[in-house]
């Protein structure tokens, strides 16, 4: 019996060493801020993306709902800017006129996200008129969708995964801001 118990305890200790590492999991998170992150992200269409985005920013542990929205919006801005850079780079090397047209359209859509959607969203949330924030973030997701549609008849969609992240992050922002209404 003693052996069994020691064995069991040993195996449990082994299991528990993995728990701190598994913070990215949709399991019980630790700390007071974690609860807000969990409940907030549950209301978004991309729970894991929401949680990992917030967790990767140290501000999230002490942020309120407004702060969480801001954090994801910042991440969205960074990702959109990076993807816009990708598009610009691709445009430089693209020769096919149809590909160039598609890339140029995506450039316009991404420009709209960075220049309008994200600033409006952050502004609206900060000033206490969140419905315009929902509108802005939703439009950002729609712009990403529009970009994807431009590549429907292209053999490849070179920024596919980045575009999806931009879309999904926008949707997360929209959901969080919706909670502020």
């Amino acid at each position: 019996m003693k052996n069994t118990i020691s064995l069991a305890l040993l195996q449990l200790a082994f299991s528990f060493t993995f728990l701190p590492v598994s913070q990215n999991l949709a399991l019980e998170l630790q700390g007071p801020g974690a609860n807000l992150i969990e409940t907030t992200c549950k209301g978004t269409p991309f729970y894991n993306l929401c949680v990992s985005t917030l967790r990767s920013d140290p501000r999230s542990s002490s942020a309120d709902l407004l702060g969480l929205a801001h954090i994801v919006a910042d991440k969205l801005k960074a990702k959109t800017t990076a993807t816009l850079g990708q598009i610009t780079g691709l445009l430089k090397g693209a020769k096919d006129p149809k590909l160039r047209m598609a890339l140029r359209d995506c450039f316009d859509y991404y420009n709209a996200i960075i220049k309008y959607d994200i600033p409006v969203t952050i502004d609206a949330v900060a000033k206490g008129n969140p419905k315009f924030g929902v509108q802005g973030a939703t439009d950002a997701a729609n712009e990403a969708d529009a970009c994807e549609r431009r590549f429907k008849n292209q053999p490849k969609f070179p920024i596919s995964s980045s575009n999806k992240v931009v879309h999904d992050l926008s949707a997360v922002v929209a959901s969080i801001v919706q909670l502020l209404l």
């Binding site: 993306l49 709209a112 206490g128 939703t138 729609n142 008849n153 209404l181």
Partner: protein, 647 residues
Amino acid sequence: MADRNPFLPVSSSDGFNPTGTQVNRRKLIKQLLTIFVGLLAVGLFAALLIGNNGSDNAHVNENEHGSLASSTSKKPESLRPVSRGPAAGVSEKSNRPFANVDGNLPWNNSMLSWQRTAFHFQPEKNWMNDPNGPLFYKGWYHFFYQYNPNAAVWGDIVWGHAVSKDLIHWLHLPLAMVADQWYDKNGVWTGSATILPDGKVVMLYTGSTAEAVQVQNLAYPADHSDPLLVHWVKYHGNPVLVPPPGIDEKDFRDPTTAWLTSEGKWRITIGSKINKTGIALVYDTKDFINYEQLDGVLHAVPGTGMWECVDFFPVSKTEENGLDTSVNGPGVKHVVKVSLDDDRHDYYAVGTYHEKNSTWIPDQHEIDVGIGIRYDYGIYYAAKTFYDQNKNRRVLWGWIGESDSEAADKQKGWASVQSIPRTILFDKKTGTHLVQWPVEEIDSLRLNSNEFNQVTIQAGSVVPLDIGPATQLDIIAKFEIDKEALEKTTGSNLTFSCSTSGGAAERGALGPFGLLVLADESLSEQTPVYFHIAKGSDGNLKTFFCNDQSRSSEASEVNKQIYGSIIPVLKGENLSLRILVDHSIIESFAQGGRTVITSRVYPTKAIYGAAKVFLFNNATDASVTASLKIWQMNSAFIRPYPNDKKS
């Protein structure tokens, strides 16, 4: 035995043999413990590896009221419900799959510039939203509005200003108020005007302070003898109201026009919320500077969320004129209207105002404000009325946003229009509704007309109407459905709703039928505005009024929803329709304005000379007879005031 492993599931299936020997039990426990703990470790390990690959629900959160929050691309666009009945008339075949084959950006300058309206109020460029402080003063109608002087999206909000002699021909004036004080640094937001007995004007408006707290401020004309009211002064002691205890500093905005109480005080209401219950706070004042908050609220409705742009006004039960906001008494009902932040729609309800304790009770709780009737079943928000003492009527303004993408707004350099101002009257026939009708002054824009009498439209057919240009129109139509068919058709239990239906292409026994506007010759683009009659299994008829955007444009990045609602049709009433077509906006009024739908339409082909109008009847069992008159509409030539009075 004591549970030394509290993390294991307390299971009854551990095969515990109560009659076994102690040795056997120990062996069994040892085995099971090993297995369970081992599984736990493996499980954690596996979860760690799999965990980061989300199997999330991949779609943008759809707002169930189908507001801008819905992502149009997620609907499989080539899917249409297959309906019974021969394919004819407005055929489902004419629904080509969207998105140009090459994936080109559909907006060229020609299409975008066509979108600008000819006779709806809009500033020369940039973004506009809520109507503010409308009033009539010294011979001029004044209109103020939320405006962004810097971009075609919301932000940097200030008060724009325009004047008109007739609510139709507007002249732009300089900005009335800008964000130059700490108490409105983050936004000069919505407010309302009150005209005092001596004729002077006071304006109450919400400021978003430098700390983003919502407060109420007082402003008044710098020069009361200036009929144009160009310059405004903000009261030096602003703010006059700050969020009261228990109210969040971001849930306190949009003060109403004040009304007099029997004690001679002025009373206003301001929308807010407590958790998810929308409420209207009440304040009394003698001087618009010092206020006393009343106990309780004017009204509250759980689950409706934040109440924006609350409006509160009397209507006559019997007379065909408007009432000053302070009027009360027998023969008078009061309307509470709210703009719901949660779904971006405007709702109203008719009820009774009890002045003593300043409460209002709806006539019918099932259609209480926020859960019942809407001003407009399309894109329409932040509406506000004012009493027009010039013509003894109550006039309604409503903000019409865009339903295209912000990238397109950026490209065209503007966003939003206002509805044509509407008169509001109590609908005596239903007792529950208000009727809205474009102000009569709009008739002054009518040019030549075409009349069509008793045109019979067979089941499943489309009738082109040869009227020349079809982008600026005033259409008045009456429809009569074949009575025999009405009686003969078998009813069914199926419930119908405009928004979940297949639009005008989905054929029913007694509908849809109506008009196709902004349609091109081949009907590859079309916007149906129509009635649909549904017969229940009990023989009762229900009439629906819808506006179908699903094929309004070949562009993908526009709203493609079907707007609409059930509409009460009384015995003996013919079906009647008025449609104002003004480029990218369509305002449709059914049954004299009992139900209204406004939509924004952005065709790529059905523009300029290529836009046409058709009658259609896509019912399977009934023919329809229509009589209509269609006027060409002139532009209102909205432009800056000629002798530009700058400071």
